[in-house]
Amino acid sequence: MTAQAQRRTPAPPPGTYLGMPKFQKNAKEQLANEQLRKNLRHATGTIRAKRAARVDEVPEWEELRLAGEAIKNRTLRHLDTYLVQLEDSLQKAGAKVHWARDAAEANRIVVGLVQAKGVDEVVKVKSMATQEIELNEALEEAGIAAWETDLAELIVQLGHDRPSHILVPAIHRNRSEVREIFLREMKQYGTPAPEDITDDPAELAGAARRHLREKFLRAKVAISGANFAIAETGTLVVVESEGNGRMCLTLPDTLISVVGIEKVLPTFADLEVFMRLLPRSSTGERMNPYTSMWTGVTPGDGPQDVHVVLVDNGRTNALADPQGRPALRCIRCSACLNICPVYERVGGHAYGSVYPGPIGAVLNPQLRGIGHEIDQSLPYASSLCGACFEVCPVRIPIPDILVHLRKEVADHKRGKPKLEPTAMAAAGWVLADHKHFELAERVAGLAARALPNTTFLGPLPWPASAWTRARDLPMPPPESFRKWWRTNRGEEQQ
């Protein structure tokens, strides 16, 4: 029997995120996919407009953003205190608390808890933290099937695929692709899709509901993340749209929640600000359909064995860096993805992480370090247009953090024989002093005089080809402004 045949759940695509080539190369591949670009343009455009309309309804939106920023800043400044308080509150409420330094430790804890229950399957609420630590594959290796129950996560899982968006992970799929995936895969893992199913969204959702229902009713263990964890009360909060989360959080006897340590909020009152910021920023709704809150164990009601795994996995590295720290304010709304002109054109798979888009470009190099090609390239995956900061509900200065991380990457590459540091050093010399600059101007002027009838340059060889493959380049005119000024105005100034 082959390893393939022993799998309990659909296999994800081969390869690892960290093994992916640099962003530029991935982006080029994705750009060639016309269907993907069309799907993304439509989807991001729609959600962008919805968000803008819902945000416009709130006259105190900027005050809410400032409040969100301030609460998160205070929490991060005193994170140690709030985490210990959270642990204490959770334990008093009957929950068991586990601490995990990294992905491997978190996975080991969760696998151990599931094995102790003697079950071989779990149902899952959509959770970025468990995606980040690649929990599903760790469970699979232990012979445990993890079933995603969020509709889009189900599409990704059944499609042997990876998510390409934080909120709508199957944004790269259209409905006829979803129909094919359901028809082909559902029957291999449970209740099949009807043979005559069409690509009507209601029919597709109906098939998913029937497929998931038997898993919800059978499962003894559920795994979730949390949008927020309240230190004061020990309450965990999950914000969702489909009700699948509510099923997972209430039906099984055991509930294991994997929570990044930056998800803590000091008090229950702080939640008010985020419950107003998050739905409008993410789905463009005034309020999301399902908000579940639970505080440890309620005897005779819901899960009776409640575990919380608090995960670091690189977060304290970001916390230690004052310039990078604001990225930990992120509440995973994905407004920055939807507004980003780069994300809109290349989609999420080019970013080599479960966190794509602008927030991924600042989060991944901080959580994973800059040892891999993909993480070195991510800070440059932006034109620094600044649209992400404008929509961020907790005012993360993403462009500033990108620039800060570019410095880290440039420092890391220093001394290695590469074109860029050399070119930057040469340009640095030219621009450091006006006399050097004037010399370079004369060279540019000479070039212009050598080609007297040329106003634009067409395709040129590398490295200029990066510009001129699709864009013409204007020729510098023979006379610079400085020269004109010296000739015509220089004397009056002296």
Partner: protein
């Protein structure tokens, strides 16, 4: 037209790209400011705001540019540049670079000069208090609000108001105007494929307007969009805001 600004001396921050590639723009700034009664000086010590280095991660290479900027422009009440991006970089990045250099004296000098640095549109509207600068430009024009002018320098709708006051102009709205053109400095060569995809969409929107001219307050963005417009023989010309404002009835365009 009345003289608005008799006796005000302005230091022109031409910016390096305008100096070498687009000298017509700083010349136009001189023309507009002098027409409004300002005295214009061009401090020859100036080179570049250093943004290319900063945004590529080479902070050490950018610091001499900060020192240069301070040296060139300290002592002037008004420093005016025709670029939201370069003015934005001076405002937003020079204090950070002075801190990077661990030079408190430089930091104080930067704060002084940054507070007196204006994008052309800000200087005209806020300091001189004019929107009608006496310009005449009888053409169909569409305006792209460049990202750094709006989101870093925060010039708001000042360029648009200046354009609206131009006599004879036919100003048409640009679809998806708030989306980046894909220039992004070294982004345009480090991620050329994404950059071109963005620039092509921008150029397509420009062509849809039927405008004769695309105007912005930043020549770098114009060079990017214009590179596509020229390659595709679109017939749409690019022009800097200052050059429209410089043009008067009976002028040479």
């Amino acid at each position: 037209m009345t003289i608005h600004a008799k006796g005000i001396t302005v230091a022109l921050f031409a910016t390096c790209i305008n100096d070498v590639m687009f000298p017509g723009t700083p010349k136009a700034v001189v023309q507009v400011l002098e027409r409004l009664g300002c005295r214009v000086e061009f401090p020859l010590d100036q080179t570049c705001c250093g943004q290319m280095f900063t945004n590529t991660g080479y902070f050490d290479a950018a610091v001499p540019n900060v020192r240069n900027y301070v040296k060139a422009f300290t002592g002037y009440d008004y420093v005016v540049g025709p670029s939201g991006s370069c003015v934005g970089a001076v405002r937003h990045q020079h204090p950070m670079l002075a801190e990077h250099a661990r030079d408190a004296g430089l930091g104080r000098a930067v704060d002084e000069v940054v507070a007196r640095t204006y994008d052309l549109s800000e200087f005209l509207v806020d300091v001189l208090g004019v929107t009608d600068v006496g310009a005449y430009f009888p053409h169909r024009v569409t305006y792209h609000p460049t990202c750094h002018s709006v989101r870093v320098a925060k010039v708001g709708d000042r360029p648009y108001r200046l354009l609206q006051a131009v006599k004879g102009i036919d100003l048409v709205d640009l679809p998806a105007a708030d989306q980046c053109c894909g220039f992004g400095g070294t982004f345009s060569v480090k991620n050329p494929d994404v950059s071109v995809a963005m620039a092509s969409d921008k150029a397509r929107h420009v062509m849809e307007t039927g405008a004769e001219y695309l105007v912005t307050g930043d020549n770098a963005c114009l060079m990017n969009i214009g590179g596509i417009l020229h390659r595709e023989n679109s017939g749409v010309k690019t022009i800097h805001l200052a050059e429209i404002l410089a043009h008067t009835e009976g002028g040479d365009r």
